[in-house]
């Protein structure tokens, strides 16, 4: 699924955005409604739970409203909104980690992360890949991926953003985005490809 809605051209939100920034409440309502489903979808994939995605997406919408006057239009509104949603999701993951019992195996960061003080989320092994819905399998697999890699893969494969846009959102070089997507997909491959088999050739891990 591609949530980006097309190539990088003129911002399709331009007129609505201008009206919203001018104080038009209806335009703001339209703008937020247009983007809310895809922002929630990103939050859902990044946090791995409906409740956390609800909180993250709501915080993102509020942050968008508050920051709207400072939006400079250098990026598309959708890209800017994604950045806010990603940050809100990472904040939500941090809060979840604080609420979690200390000493969980997932509390330690893993190598390959860019210094972000977040490790992968713990996942219940009671999940049966054979019987669970595919969406649960994807969520479970993504939760085991460090958030830096998770965000890059989700923004590319769910949102359909190009490397440059993802680099802007994650505030890292495009080369880093390319590397994270490649390595993130490779890490996920044993879980999500060919019926979760281990047939796919493995690569050395750090």
């Amino acid at each position: 699924m591609n949530l980006a809605g097309g190539p990088l051209t003129a911002d399709p939100d331009e007129a609505t955005l201008a009206a919203a920034r001018g104080g038009d409440r209806r335009a703001l309502d339209d703008l937020l409604r247009r983007h809310q489903p895809r922002l929630w979808a990103v939050c859902r994939r990044l946090t791995g739970s409906d409740a956390d995605a609800d909180d993250a997406a709501q915080n993102a919408l509020i942050a968008i409203v508050r920051a709207l006057p400072s939006f400079d239009g250098r990026s598309r509104f959708g890209t800017w909104a994604y950045r806010i949603a990603v940050n809100a999701s990472l904040d939500e993951l941090r809060r979840r980690r604080r609420r979690a019992d200390p000493g969980l195996p997932g509390d330690t960061d893993v190598s390959g992360s860019s210094g972000e003080p977040l490790g992968p989320e713990p996942v219940a092994t009671t999940l049966n890949p054979e019987s669970a819905a595919l969406t649960v399998d994807v969520d479970a697999a993504l939760r085991r991926l460090p958030p830096d890699f998770r965000a890059a893969v989700v923004l590319r494969d769910l949102c359909g953003l190009d490397y440059a846009e993802i680099a802007e959102i994650l505030e890292v070089p495009a080369g880093t985005v390319r590397s994270r997507i490649s390595r993130g997909r490779s890490a996920l491959a044993p879980l999500l490809s060919a019926g979760n088999s281990d047939d796919a050739p493995r690569r050395p891990t750090s």
Binding site: R33, Q58, L158, G160, A189, S193, T205
Partner: protein, 285 residues
């Protein structure tokens, strides 16, 4: 519940990088040739393509009620900002530094009735202050002529807000009237568990501290912002603030604010980052 370990993330690998670039349609001719020449190339391409398709499949849709709540909260933030900036040259969404402590959430029950009521309270307080000043002035003139003049009294600031941008006696009186409804929990030190702060707050509700004259002033601007922003940091609908305290939470300068909530327990404690009012932790109590 048992836990699975994190996925090991592979090192950078030229074949994987080339294959992933092929999946995204951005591979160079050299990368395409590398994949084509590799015995594993076709299998890797199929595997990474499958991952990309799996992650790209739409997940569950958001509960419509939750979506509506989120949208309503965002629009309420817009409305609040519009109210705050009414009569000023601020753009919608900008925070005003000296906003009243308990600025109402627009759209909340009774918010329209709330403003005239507070206005009346503020006017009454201003009138009382004026009468007191006049009385002191008259007594001063009678008992010690020359020590105070009406000009002196008129020129003296009557509140901490006087002289600040946007600070007026009415606004200060309003903030004082509002502050009187909130228990000032003082400082909670350096806490690492929200439950410990909730215990302190609960104790304060059991035996509220006696307010001192010094406490009946406007809160610092950053705390005002957090008191206002608190409800918007959670999806649960909360009511009026009841308690506030300052301290450090897990090494982060923080403010703890308790709000009314529907349900049992009847209060929700939010611990917010004092710098940006983001939510650090929450617990009902």
């Amino acid at each position: 519940m048992t836990l699975e370990p994190p996925l090991p993330v592979p090192d950078d690998d030229s074949l994987d990088a080339a294959t992933s670039a092929l999946v995204d349609g951005v591979a160079t001719p050299e990368e395409a040739a590398l994949v084509a020449a590799s015995p594993d190339g076709a299998a890797r391409l199929a595997a990474l393509q499958a991952v990309s398709e799996a992650v790209g499949r739409p997940g569950p849709a958001q509960d419509p009620a939750a979506a509506d709540r989120a949208l309503a909260a965002a629009l309420a933030a817009f409305d609040t900002a519009a109210l705050d900036t009414a009569g000023t040259d601020q753009a919608p969404g900008e925070e005003r530094e000296d906003a009243p402590v308990l600025a109402p959430r627009v759209g909340s029950p009774g918010s329209v009735r709330w403003l005239p009521r507070l206005g009346a309270v503020a006017a009454a307080l201003v009138l009382l202050v004026g009468l007191a000043v006049l009385t002191v002035d008259l007594l001063g003139r009678a008992g010690d002529p020359g020590t105070a003049t009406s000009d002196d009294v008129a020129a003296a600031p009557t509140s901490p807000a006087a002289g600040r941008p946007g600070g007026t006696e009415g606004a200060t009186a309003m903030a004082r009237a509002e502050a009187a409804e909130v228990i000032d929990g003082g400082a909670f030190g350096n806490e690492t568990a929200v439950e410990a702060i909730a215990l302190r707050a609960g104790a304060a509700f059991d035996s509220p501290p006696v307010p001192s004259p010094a406490a009946a002033t406007t809160l610092p601007a950053d705390l005002q912002r957090c008191v206002k922003a608190g409800p918007s940091t959670v999806s649960e609908k909360v009511g009026a603030p009841l308690y506030q305290a300052e301290g450090t939470f897990q090494g982060i300068p923080a403010v703890a604010i308790a709000y009314q909530r529907d349900g049992d327990p009847p209060r929700l404690l939010l611990v917010l980052n004092r710098n940006d009012c983001s939510l650090l932790e929450r617990t009902p109590f």
